[in-house]
Symmetry: C3
Subunit: 294 residues, 3 copies
């Protein structure tokens, strides 16, 4: 691709409006995740017969749960920054759009909308839109936090990450609203790729703000979008869920005591060998004694 | 009743001061609900012998739990609106009154106060006071939210509802303070009548603000009070717990996929009949085969 | 000790800077408490073989959990006072120091740092520093709250207590981040000595502000430090965990219905005696009848 064309595309991507298409893609994926997160819980409850969907039995809980996940990034960021957590509910347009999406995903005749959204080509398109929106949210999270706390790098990165991957962090509260409680799993204990990628993107945008990266803004932004989209598509098609794992393992091996572990194992192996030889000698002694008795 | 008299009564009701009688009625019912919510948890723990009341063993936990429930509406509304959640504890008069009520409900000699409050005529009187206070709280919740977010109808209704029925929404946190955790039940999953009635009242007050109801304010306010009181009394005396259920079922049947369900059932019934006839034929065949063998 | 010397020492203690030594002592104890709180949870999970430490498997969760506990006082106080909860993360110096302590406690070669910190003389020194820091935090919590709400005594005492003993109150949330959930235990249900002592210290500082104690400030402050240090040392060395228990029992016996209980027991004892004599008579009757049969 000719660099100028690339730059033009990047500039267009930077200025994309999120509403309505990108936001709708986001709401679709969030409502599907809420709908699918509920099913195993019902299976646990051991209900027999034709299982009625959760949203049918508890529409209020399902709706509030979906809304919380749809606006999780803003809600959590507002909470941390001391702003009213209810603010996202001020924007009627978004709420009505999200409610319409929630309704169509859960109550469309013959589950048509849900099935279409799960159909691979459509799913891929929705994911591409959603990842573009994620980059947008991370960037604006970094901007907002940097305005409030110009020199607090940790807060800037945290807000960027939360804006981009709030749904994961909200999951425990969200499940509680649906009457499900799985304390042993949360986003901080087992961070998903979306969270890690948002973290990396936040750090990149922060570095850009600090003039550590001397590349025009549209290129950085478009690069982040491509990074999100590329790994999302490879996750959906190829099932590569976390390309960060090798890096993490390396990091843990070096800094989180992996080296000391290896050292200890090495030294303890020697003692293990000594123990083994002792055991062998003992066994031999016992055999001799038994023979004597005979 | 002569309309003028009715209007006069309504005006008086609108201007009633909540402190002390109405607030005390509220505190009494809240402290009783905390006290009674604790008992089953103890039963679960399987303690044998004469069970010591929870408030005796854990006075701090019982007190804080009761205070949180007594001021649940303000605390939750403050949290959502980004104001200090501790604000209700600033008002010494209310806190001392609530503490006195908590003390009398839990530690009066021979459980006298508790037993009196549970005695039907007294209970009815307390409930009437409490429901009047609920209407007052819903109305003031709507006022406060409408001042902060004039055009955010969802927030106005939410804050009104929370002010009126905060204790239900607070229950999970409240139980946690008492060491009880029942994730499978919460107010959003199974909303009680109090919550639904507060929601309806909030919507009515909002409609009034938007000039959609052309009735003088005292009449609307008094109507809401009567609505609350009427259904509370019918709940206490007749055991009608939720007069909204038929409406909800109708709503769910129309909008929440009940129609599609019926359609599906109708079509699946036909296939079921076909299956049945198949089964009958199969059975007949088997019988014939068996006869042949004989 | 000569009073003037005592006064001089007290003045020096009042003006001590917390950073770095006192804060580091605090971080060390908090990181150790997080590290040790995790182990039983692993044991529950029933993992066999050489157990890998939690921090190795989930460094992010362990780090965030330790940070939340290290800054629990500020976070909780900010939450209650409606200020941004993320503020403590603005102070890079503290965060980096706490992170370094967390790293050394969890990943030092051969667990050297952890073992040194658990070695009694060092542990005592760390505890002395930590208790001095606690007094400092309680005092500054009281100051901050008194500035915001000059006449709300309850809030002043609450904020002082939370600043001094926030780690206990944060424990449930903190455990949740580590995937552990023990709803039946929390600081309000079973307050530790640290919480109670912070409460007493807050009340003392509040009384000082209200001019109810006519003693120079350094003496009060130094007295509180000595009180904290003395009971902490006696707890570490002698295993006296809660010197408040007798007072509490007395208080409960007088105000929390203990007296009524005793009265009831006394009256029920008499009935019990009557029952006993009845039983005896019954037994005698049975024996007679049996003899007759023979």
């Amino acid at each position: 691709m000719d660099p100028q064309t690339y730059m033009d595309v990047a500039t267009v991507v930077t200025k994309l409006k999120m509403y309505p298409y990108f936001d709708i893609a986001h709401y679709i994926l969030m409502c599907i995740s809420v709908r699918e997160d509920v099913q195993p819980a019902q299976a646990q409850a051991g209900s027999s017969g034709p299982v009625q969907p959760f949203a049918r039995k508890h529409p209020l809980s399902s709706w509030l749960s979906s809304m919380l996940i749809c606006f999780a990034g803003s809600i959590l960021a507002n909470f941390l920054l001391g702003e009213p957590v209810i603010t996202p509910f001020k924007d009627h347009q978004s709420i009505i759009t999200a409610t319409a999406v929630w309704y169509l995903i859960n109550f469309s005749p013959f589950d048509l909308v849900y099935k279409i959204c799960k159909f691979l080509p459509f799913k891929l398109a929705i994911c591409v839109l959603k990842e573009t929106q994620r980059a947008h949210k991370v960037y604006h999270g970094v901007l907002v936090a940097a305005k409030l706390y110009p020199s607090a790098y940790l807060i800037i990165v945290a807000v960027g990450t939360i804006k981009g991957a709030g749904s994961g962090l909200m999951k425990n509260i969200d499940r509680l609203i649906r009457g499900v409680w799985i304390p042993g799993s949360n986003e901080i204990l087992q961070p998903t790729f979306a969270t890690k990628a948002s973290l990396v993107a936040s750090i990149i945008f922060l570095c850009e703000r600090l003039n550590l990266i001397a590349v025009p803004h549209p290129l950085i932004y478009f690069g982040v979008v491509l990074f999100f989209v590329y790994f999302k598509i490879s996750s959906v098609i190829l099932g590569i869920h976390d390309p960060f794992v090798p890096l993490e393992n390396l990091f843990c091996a070096i800094f989180m005591g992996g080296m000391w572990d290896a050292l200890r194992r090495a030294t303890s192996k020697e003692t293990a060998k000594e123990d083994e030889s002792k055991d062998l000698r003992n066994d031999a002694m016992k055999l001799k004694e038994e023979k004597k008795k005979d």
